[in-house]
């Protein structure tokens, strides 16, 4: 038998506990802005979307970099051209995805008569949050991929947990930052 529940628990606990501590911090940011969220539920709908898409784009970038590093067509160099190309593509994809989803969320909210908020302001807030999040998550993805590859660890195991956890917290942080900047 190769699997043993005690081993599964023992090996998973450390990384999971770290992830949970960071996520509780994200939860605290939500609690801090709870009044605003309950007043404008459109942002409540947006949070899982912002985080899900950001985490996905970051993980895809990480997986592509990991494959590139394994195969050897991406080098361990911050100035690598192929890496830059991947980063810019991720930002572009992020922009399009968040634009489409922001419009869908706005339409759904209007139909369920959830809100009174300026559509241009809402779309601007989601786009700014999304693009900044994709940028931040991509940087974390690149650093984690490079770092783990250098340490002889498999980037495929490292990138996804790091990127989703960091992405969740930054996504919520950036959202409230841009709600503050743009205003509602």
């Amino acid at each position: 038998m190769i699997y043993d529940w005690k081993k599964i628990v023992r090996f998973s606990m450390p990384l999971l506990t770290i992830c949970i501590i960071i996520e509780i911090f994200a939860g605290n940011i939500l609690q801090n802005s709870e009044d605003q969220l309950l007043l404008f539920p459109i942002f409540l709908i947006s949070i899982p979307v912002i985080n899900g898409v950001g985490g996905n784009i970051g993980s895809v970038l990480g997986a592509r970099l990991a494959s590139g590093l394994h195969v050897g067509n991406i080098n361990l160099d911050i100035k690598d051209k192929k890496m830059h190309e991947n980063l810019i593509t991720s930002l572009f994809i992020g922009f399009i995805t968040y634009l489409i989803l922001a419009i869908i969320i706005y339409l759904i909210s209007t139909f369920s008569s959830l809100i009174v908020i300026n559509p241009m302001k809402f779309i601007t807030i989601i786009l700014c949050t999304g693009v900044l999040l994709v940028f931040a998550v991509s940087i974390f993805s690149i650093l984690t991929a490079f770092w783990s590859f250098k340490k002889g660890l498999d980037p495929d195991d490292m990138v996804a947990p790091v990127v989703t956890t960091v992405g969740d917290t930054l996504g919520i942080l950036f959202l409230f930052m841009f709600i503050g900047v743009v205003g509602i």
Binding site: M1, I2, Y3, D4, W5, K6, K7, I8, V9, S12, M13, L15, L16, T17, C19, I20, I21, E23, I24, A26, G27, N28, L30, Q31, N32, E34, L38, P41, L44, I45, S46, I47, P48, V49, I50, N51, G52, V53, N56, I57, V60, E85, N86, T89, F92, I93, I96, T97, I100, L101, I104, I105, I108, L114, P161, T164, T165, D168, T169, I172
Partner: protein, 186 residues
């Protein structure tokens, strides 16, 4: 060209995952009254979702490896290896849920000066954690079984499927747990 190729291959999946996020987010709006009556509830949400995602994708990818190693297959699915994996995932969910509950209680106390009932918060997290664990383990086994029968590689299917359904199932489990324990039904 990279941009064209990536838009064609990943945009549909990203939009699909975004729609999943909208369903999960709409469940959150159903909980507005619960957020008002149970202080500290909103704090645990990102942590429960992240715990669920981590534990179930790891479960799915271990079953994928077990398949490649020849330990499990469509005819021999319900064996000791699978049982150990299920027990491991459930115990992990239970332990991590307790940690989430305690951390949420302590941080509400320290940072927000509100006094949530620790038993309510901790039992909501444990119930939501275990409920979503059982549902997602069951779902994973069904997905794995169907994938085996068709002869596909489970590694390509379980990850995205669990990521999309996981958030929605977990959000519903949090909603139901909060309603049962803190919603004044009992």
């Amino acid at each position: 060209m990279l941009v064209k190729e990536m838009i064609k291959q990943s945009l549909p999946l990203l939009i699909f995952c975004g729609i999943g996020g909208i369903i999960a987010g709409s469940t959150l709006t159903l909980m507005i009254n619960l957020f008002n009556t149970i202080p500290g509830l909103i704090i645990v949400i990102p942590a429960i979702i992240a715990m669920r995602g981590n534990i179930s994708t790891a479960f799915g990818s271990r079953l994928g490896s077990a398949y490649h190693l020849g330990i499990i297959n469509a005819e021999n699915l319900w064996n000791e290896e699978l049982k150990q994996n299920i027990i491991g995932s459930i115990i992990l969910s239970f332990l991590v849920s307790i940690i989430i509950g305690i951390l949420a209680y302590v941080t509400t106390l320290v940072f927000f000066n509100i006094r949530p009932n620790p038993f309510i918060i901790i039992s909501i997290v444990i119930l939501a954690g275990l409920l979503s664990a059982f549902i997602l383990i069951f779902l994973t086994i069904i997905i794995i079984y169907l994938v085996f029968r068709r002869g596909y590689d489970p590694d390509n299917i379980t990850g995205p499927a669990l990521a999309t359904f996981g958030d929605i199932v977990t959000m519903f489990c949090i909603f139901i747990s909060a309603l049962l324990i803190g919603g004044g039904i009992f």
